[in-house]
């Protein structure tokens, strides 16, 4: 168990900068998710923590220890690969025993540790089965067990659920979370799936284009996105963002319409570097009303539990139950009180009151 | 993973050594091919790595020109052996590819000829000389000795295993949905083969044919047994080249060797992606 500190990490591949001055502190025993679209640098970050890649600049600290120059086999890091990287030519037992065996542990001790780990993970009954052809959740458990047997201070998981079909992910997520609680290890989890990050992580680090955008608990990044990228990336669908101009006690929207702000929101909006701001509200935080944003409905998605309105200008609204609207007819959305997030159109940063 | 500088030095040294080992025999023959008689017949200290006075004399000589007072012009030039090599290899390749592709398709799609895979592997297992006697007797009986078609026929069957196995793995790999769609459209099985499958298999067919051609072109032994004079191939002709006055005609032989070596090297590099599959009978698909 240990904390991790990435200090001013830069990673360049030739001319391409994969990571820009990344600074991240991961607490001891924390489950943190690195979340972002593909190519955002999250896997590079993880590889640098694991020691599979060297940073171009900056330091990697485990607790007080500088491990930047330490080769990967000496970092004491458990790594769960995207496809689990189970040694398919070995049995479950041989997979579990691999780490201790490579470290030259005595036979009796290996046997004891393997049985212990197998009991802990409910793998006891299949110890002597060949590992090829096992089901995914067993493979996941085996991959974690194979690393955990070395008692690593840190667990790194590289999109372990991306090869699992959607219906089964919920089961896998629950299992992974409960495993993490039992092991109490620091876990770093890379994913592009916000649902995984939201449901499992203690904190989420959102990344884009090699830049760390925001770090916070799932609800923090959801409710208080630091910038336009996070606002749009999180949530399904993402936040509605309407560019506009501050005008007295309201915002005149670019596509037409005006949104009235309360005093606090006006104060917030005045912090913008220019007069241009972006007004944001979540699709699920609006109702149909008299004044607000009026746009024609381009199409209505009814998925049973919810109804999603797609309106012109990319605006979306989510309702708990069916609503009587017709495609092509204009609808006026009134954001709920307090739902407004106001961003600086110049910097993209959210303005706080 | 980062490697130590010592490893870089070691790797560079090892690769350099391998490169030298690979290239020396080739370069020496190339060098000999371009040396004039005074140089290729030199010994001891007079021997040089590179021709001091590069010339095309050796190439001119094997095509019948008298290039030096020291050696008499050739009675039989290289033109005919080159033709023999080309003709027998191309026709042998055609036989192997036609029979092999058809049989591979028959087995892959209809399960016909289940004896073929093993029979053809066995065919590759045996040293040709151990089974050459009856072929020679038959060929003499059928008047096929020293004819290009007689040679082609043997080439066709010797390389049939490669053509068959390669095409079989390609057919097995090909998704059948396309053929099934054509069948549903009302095409006959034969039309599906000629209009759908074979056009799709153009790439595999070409690379297999080139590999089979290389193998046929590379033969020495079979031509040595089955041709005597009219239709000897390049390697047989090359081995027989000598002059009563100078003995071995090193330069001329080197020039011929170069002519024989160039086509398969170029073709082989062109199809290098398919070589593993081809030379392991499709066991490895890379």
């Amino acid at each position: 168990m240990t904390s991790i500190h990435l200090s001013q990490i830069v990673k360049r591949f030739g001319d391409f900068t994969a990571l820009q001055e990344m600074d991240l502190r991961i607490h001891d025993g924390e489950f943190i998710a690195l979340l972002g679209p593909s190519g955002c640098g999250k896997s590079t970050t993880m590889n640098i923590i694991a020691g599979m890649e060297d940073p171009s600049e900056g330091r990697v600290m485990f607790g007080d220890r500088d491990v930047t120059a330490l080769p990967m086999q000496k970092r004491g890091v458990g790594f769960v690969f995207q496809n689990y990287a189970i040694f398919t030519h070995m049995t479950v037992r041989e997979n579990l025993a691999y780490g201790p065996r490579m470290h030259g542990a005595p036979r009796a001790e290996i046997e004891r540790r393997v049985v212990e780990m197998a009991d802990f993970l409910d793998l006891g009954a299949i110890l002597d089965r060949p590992s090829a052809g096992l089901s995914v959740n067993i493979l996941q458990r085996l991959a974690i067990g194979r690393s955990a047997i070395m008692e690593p201070a840190i667990f790194l998981l590289d999109e372990p659920l991306s090869n699992v079909d959607a219906a089964f992910r919920a089961v896998m997520r629950r299992e992974l979370k409960s495993l993490q609680q039992r092991f109490e290890q620091t876990m770093v989890y890379v994913t592009h799936d916000q649902l995984e990050a939201m449901t499992m992580a203690d904190r989420i680090a959102v990344m884009d284009h090699g830049v760390l955008q925001q770090v916070g608990t799932p609800l923090e990044v959801y409710n208080a996105p630091a910038n336009l990228f996070v606002a749009q990336f999180l949530g399904a669908p993402g936040m509605n963002l309407l560019p506009g101009m501050l005008d007295g006690d309201g915002i005149v929207l670019e596509g037409g319409g005006r949104i009235a702000l309360d005093d606090r929101e006006v104060r917030t909006a005045r912090r913008a570097t220019g007069r241009d701001v972006v007004y944001g509200f979540r699709p699920e935080e609006a109702r149909m009303g008299e004044d607000g944003v009026t746009r024609p409905v381009s199409f209505v998605e009814r998925i049973g539990a919810r109804t999603i309105l797609h309106m012109e200008g990319g605006i979306k609204a989510v309702f708990e139950n069916d609503v009587a609207v017709a495609e092509g007819r204009p609808v006026t959305l009134s954001p709920n009180p307090g739902a407004a997030r106001i961003f600086d159109a110049g910097t993209g940063a959210r303005l706080e009151g | 993973m980062t490697r130590s500088p010592a490893f870089h030095v070691f790797r560079t040294a090892a690769l350099l050594l391998a490169l030298i080992f690979v290239l020396i025999p080739v370069l020496w023959m190339v060098s000999m091919a371009f040396k004039p008689i005074q140089e290729w017949s030199a010994t001891g200290d007079l021997l040089t790595w590179w021709p001091r006075d590069p010339t095309l004399d050796n190439f001119r000589y094997i095509f019948g020109e008298r290039t030096s007072e020291l050696i008499v012009a050739l009675e039989r030039t290289a033109g005919r052996p080159i033709l023999a090599s080309l003709l027998s290899s191309v026709v042998g390749t055609a036989i192997a590819m036609l029979a092999g592709t058809a049989a591979a398709y028959g087995l892959s799609r209809f399960g016909s000829g289940r004896n073929l895979p093993l029979a053809l592997i066995q065919l590759r297992l045996f040293p040709p000389l151990a089974v050459m006697i009856p072929v020679m007797v038959m060929w003499a009986y059928l008047d096929l000795i020293d004819t290009w078609w007689g040679l082609s026929l043997v080439y066709g069957i010797v390389t049939l295993p490669f053509a068959f196995w390669l095409m079989k793995t390609y057919f097995d790999d090909m998704p059948r949905e396309i053929e099934e769609a054509a069948l549903v459209e009302g095409c006959s099985r034969f039309r599906v083969l000629t209009r759908v499958t074979l056009p799709m298999m153009r790439g595999p067919l070409a690379s297999s044919a080139l590999l089979v051609f290389i193998l046929n072109w590379s033969d020495y032994l079979i031509a040595l047994m089955l041709t005597t004079r009219e239709w000897v191939t390049i390697p047989v002709y090359m081995a027989s080249l000598s002059s009563s006055m100078t003995g071995q005609l090193y330069g001329a032989k080197a020039a011929l060797g170069l002519i024989a070596a160039v086509p398969p090297v170029i073709l082989g590099i062109a199809i290098q992606k398919h070589l593993v599959r081809g030379l392991t009978f499709g066991a490895l698909k890379q």
């Binding site: 790594f79 990287a85 690393s147 | 490697r3 025999p25 399960g111 040293p127 006697i133 009986y141 593993v276």
Partner: protein, 325 residues
């Protein structure tokens, strides 16, 4: 494959199973399609019959006679020269035959391991990225594409006692080196092996590199993270994964060396004396110089049966080819 606690991997796709079933029914039921299959395989079957099965029967027949092309009789009348099992008795008592077989085995035992180790070493180096890799890869494949007879001639030139190899050795050692590579009985076989190693290490390299590239990188990284060093990784991950490929590569080389003729014949013609006479050269010489065709027919069959037995035993012990480990 299904486990009580989980689900199967994607393998079982019901739609694919259904498609296969339909396809099988169609192929088995359709009389025209099976007939087409038979027609398609017919040329290959005829070729095998004509150039393999029939000749083998003829060879068996001739091996029990004393027939030679000089006996002035058509081969069909060879029974008039019936010899019973004499040829076979001669084969088993022929020291020259067993000597040739022994030398062939010697080349197998020396050249194949050297080719394997060099090929594996080279393939390992090619697992990394380095400048010029693609060009070097192509160059490394050149020897195996050289016509073997021409390769034989290359080494014939190199190993002349006044040739460049001795020239090189002289230059290095500073004294006049005149090693009789091709005419000294002990060295000639070494020269022949060097030529074989030169020509066929690339094949090992090619096949083994394909095998190494098939070893999942993730599993190697996982092994490294679990503390395995390079040698341990090779022994516990790489070797088990490329086992089948190694067996295929070795089998191909052993079979090919049993056929070795072209290179060797051009270099030494089996000489000096019988110093480099392999089984193929032995057959060739008895056939062309002594014209003892029925004897060669018998000896050839002995080799055939021997190889088949060895191959059969080997197959029984080996994993199925084509199946990846």
């Amino acid at each position: 494959m299904t486990d009580t606690t989980g689900r199967t991997l994607p393998a079982a796709d019901p739609a694919a199973v259904a498609r296969t079933a339909v396809r099988d029914a169609k192929d088995a039921g359709g009389g025209t399609s099976t007939r087409l299959g038979t027609w398609l395989t017919l040329p290959a079957q005829l070729l095998i019959l004509f150039v393999a099965v029939f000749p083998l029967l003829m060879q068996l027949y001739l091996s029990f006679t004393d027939w030679t092309p000089l006996s002035g009789r058509n081969w069909t009348e060879a029974y008039t020269l019936w010899a019973g099992t004499w040829n076979y008795e001669d084969v088993f008592a022929d020291d020259r035959f067993w000597g040739a077989l022994g030398r062939t085995l010697l080349i197998v035992v020396v050249a194949v391991p050297v080719e394997f180790l060099l090929g594996l070493g080279l393939a390992t180096l090619f697992m990394d990225e380095f400048p010029g890799k693609r060009v070097l890869y192509s160059i490394m494949l050149v020897p195996m594409m050289i016509v073997p007879a021409v390769a034989g001639y290359m080494f014939y030139l190199l190993f002349q006692s006044d040739g460049p190899i001795n020239g090189l050795l002289s230059a290095i050692s500073g004294q006049d080196v005149a090693i009789r590579w091709l005419t000294d009985p002990d060295l000639a076989i070494v020269a022949v092996m060097i030529a074989d190693i030169w020509q066929w290490t690339p094949l090992m390299f090619l096949i083994l590199l394909a095998g190494l590239l098939g070893v999942p990188q993730d599993q190697l990284k996982a092994a490294t993270l679990l503390g395995a060093g390079p040698w341990q990784r090779f022994r516990t991950i790489v070797l088990p994964k490329i086992k089948t490929i190694i067996v295929i590569a070795l089998a191909i080389r052993v079979i090919e060396i049993f056929k070795i003729f072209d290179t060797l014949f051009i270099m030494t013609a089996g000489g000096p004396g019988v110093a480099t006479e392999t089984i193929s050269v032995f057959f060739y010489k008895i056939m062309t110089l002594e014209l003892a065709w029925s004897y060669v027919a018998a000896a050839g069959l002995v080799v055939l049966v021997g190889l088949s037995v060895v191959a059969g035993v080997a197959m029984a012990f080996l994993p199925k080819p084509g199946k990846r480990a």
